[in-house]
Amino acid sequence: MRRENREREAGVMAVPSAEKFYAMLRSAAVAGLRILDEVPVIRIGTATCGIAAGALLVRDTFRDELNKRGIEARVMEVGCMGHCYAEPMVIITKPGFPSLCYNNVDEELAIHLVDDFLARGDPCYEFAMAALEPNDFFPTFQDFPRGIYEEKMILGDCGLIDPQEIDHFLARDGYLALCKALQTESNQVLQEIKKANLRGRGGAGFPAGEKWDMARKAPGEIKFVICNGDEGDPGAFMDRNILESNPHLVIEGMIICAYCVGASRGFLYIRSEYRQAVCRMERALEQAREKGLLGERILGSNFSFNLEIFTAAGAFVCGEGTALVKSMEGKMGIPEHRPPELAESGYLGKPTVLNNVKTFCYVPPIILRGARWFRDVGTPESPGTAVFALAGKISAPGLVEVPMGTTLRQLIDDVGGGVPHGKRFKAVQIGGPSGGCLPEQALDIPIDFDSLLGAGAMMGSGGIIVLDEDDCMVRIARFFLNFTQEESCGKCTFCRLGTRHMFRILDDIIRGKGEMGQLETLRRLAEDIKIGSLCNLGKTAPNPVLTTLRYFFDEYRAHISEKRCPALSCPELTVYFIEPKRCSKLCNVCIGSCPVEAIFTRDDGLKAIDQEKCVKCDNCLKACPPDYSAVIKLSPLSLLDERLGKNK
């Protein structure tokens, strides 16, 4: 009462409480979206992955065909549900039918769906992938093997809401957690995050609450909150997907964090290659500002916070906190010794909270549903869920969210559908270039932040690459070492020179020039780089080598002492050979497939390879019809002479 009087005296309009303010925003959003319940809605997944698979063409086809037929419907662009193997994905919601999701939609299927489903009323179940809600006609995603394991705490709205329209987020209780937080004392909000034991999802698993507390207690008026979207692991796409599919969730998490630590400015550090993510985030920020959810006096409270995007150049090392901050200051993105931690002295020397995209995403649901809810999922030391990007030799690659403590075997065999084409599983590379290659016997380890360390790997930020019998483990180790030595900033001796020497040794080995003595040098270097490097890029860079040496030593030995690549993958140690017994005089396919005219027809009409000309491109092997499968690979090279001798 007294406050209202004072405000009236000061000549300002009475500002509604945060709760009222939010209720107004939400009811307006709900009202605006009511139309979606009345007309058919076609949701098209247009995250970068969908676009790459042709989603924009599908979108345009739907629009054109609907126009042509004069059907009233909404075509909506949404983010990604994480089923990479099924892109482009389309969800059609038509009143009277369950919402149905269609996979691998092309123009033809789009026209078909408009004709049969939207114009008539046949939902084309034969093309449907799953229904969204339980119904009597068609299975849902929960009935998928992966549906049994998946538990969506942060990906729930991805692929369902339009990331470019804030109303979609608001209508699903978006920013409600912010509203709740702003009405609570900031320290109490922080305590909830601490109680939840939310650990940083960037890889290291440092408790977010403790980090925030450090920044909160650090002296100084000016503090910053930065979101680390510099995702750079080969094969990882978790953060991109979230930024593209549900940008407001990240924004909301960051505002709550800023409220806890008393920060007035924040940045979203996103690599410039993520153009779609940057565009969508820009629009999201704009809309949040318009609605009074960002900027001065958020939701009418006394709390102000400004957030902007920092478009990063995309250097892998800039994912390291101190390097990230330096690159924002306009300096070279090169790591510094810690301490001081960023929470004490970060961007421009001010206390700075830096967390991964996913970490911020967990904040709103924790505030909304409580620390208990979060801790009830996952393991005691690593509560909550984990988001993994499944890639490599796996039947159903994609983005999945499972409780912490799920085993690698469940993740690969059940969620990802196992290794395709009847091939044998060989290893899984988890944690990107900082992680390790784990063999079959490590698959039953429940994955959380700490469990994989004993096996020599780490959970990292969630990249999982499955390898099968055709993958040479020495080559894989070399691939990752090549990546880290290219991406090393070059500041410290161990990382700059050590990884370079390790790469050179691995390169020798795959070319058949390795010596057994080099393996000891390799191991020693790896161990020393792990301890001696300045930052975590260097400290973890040897992991792929150490784990492959530990679990796949036989492959190293075969390369060195037998000059043999067991996976028949290293070109210097492998030759292509056409088995005369299997080859047919009637077939010329391989000749046409060869780009260098290395394949010729022998006097007897069968085909053979001129080894001098062969560039080992693999085309003939792929081209040879399965009935013949006459093209084979041999390793070591000496096997060729044996074969030629035998078949003469």
């Binding site: 250097a315 090392v317 070279m332 090169i334 510094e336 010794h337 030595q485 290219e486 991406e487 090393s488 900033c489 070059g490 500041k491 410290c492 001796t493 161990f494 700059r496 020179l497 050590g498 990884t499 370079r500 020497h501 050179r504 003595g517 040098t521 020693r524 270097l525 020393d528 301890i531 001696g532 490097s533 300045l534």
Partner: protein
């Protein structure tokens, strides 16, 4: 000045100012710790050469002495198997990227790589690492000194004094990973850069990458 505390390095009790960096305290007390990149007075040492490892009681692994602040009662060991191994590896790594031609180098006898080798008993002979391809370009354009990148160990002392002490900013780092190097803006030679030839960078170079031209050459054009 901060308060005086007592610490122990290799069994010797030493009195030092709290918060001071361990490396300088040890060196001032006559205890050698290998080092290349650190310069006294740096706010935040680069900690890039990774040579000044020591073990400090209560800490899990070896730590760099240039970044370790002095605390009351700390117990430091400069020679342990773990430290010696790291120093040896770092030293051999640096040597693999350093053109070894000591007898023709002006720093022969004063080179800090030689000091490390002598103090720790490390010679080039047992080195199992293949030398990396040497950089062959040499910048002789300045009137008074020469820059030979093939000998550079990328410690960054020259860059620091150029930017922080001289305030000139003629040189800086460029390139990533193995391509990191000390260079001028736009890769011009030093004579065309803002370099004032103050000579500070040459004085701090721990190896023979920056060295003064012989006086005879310097006065040649003057008379």
């Amino acid at each position: 000045m901060s308060k005086k505390v007592t610490i122990t390095i290799d069994g010797r009790r030493i009195s030092a100012h709290e918060g001071e960096k361990l490396l300088w305290v040890a060196l001032d007390s006559g205890i050698y710790i290998p080092h290349l990149c650190a310069i006294r007075g740096q706010d935040r040492p680069p900690a890039g050469c990774r040579l000044c490892f020591v073990e400090v009681g209560g800490r899990l692994g070896p730590v760099t002495a240039c970044t370790e602040p002095i605390r009351e009662g700390m117990v430091v060991r400069t020679r342990t198997p773990r430290v010696d191994r790291l120093v040896e590896t770092a030293f051999r790594l640096l040597l693999s990227d350093h053109r070894l031609d000591c007898k023709n180098c002006t720093k022969n006898g004063r080179c800090e790589l030689q000091v490390i080798a002598r103090e720790r008993g490390l010679g080039p002979d047992r080195d199992p690492l293949q030398p990396l391809p040497a950089k062959t370009y040499i910048d002789e354009s300045p009137r008074t000194f020469v820059f030979d990148p093939g000998r550079c160990v990328l410690c960054g002392r020259c860059v620091w004094v150029d930017q922080q002490v001289a305030g000139v900013g003629a040189i800086g780092f460029s390139g990533r990973g193995i391509r990191r190097r000390v260079t001028t803006f736009g890769d011009s030679n030093l004579a065309e850069s803002p370099c004032t030839e103050c000579g500070l960078c040459v004085e701090v170079c721990p190896v023979g990458a920056l060295f003064f031209k012989l006086p005879a050459k310097k006065t040649k054009g003057d008379s």
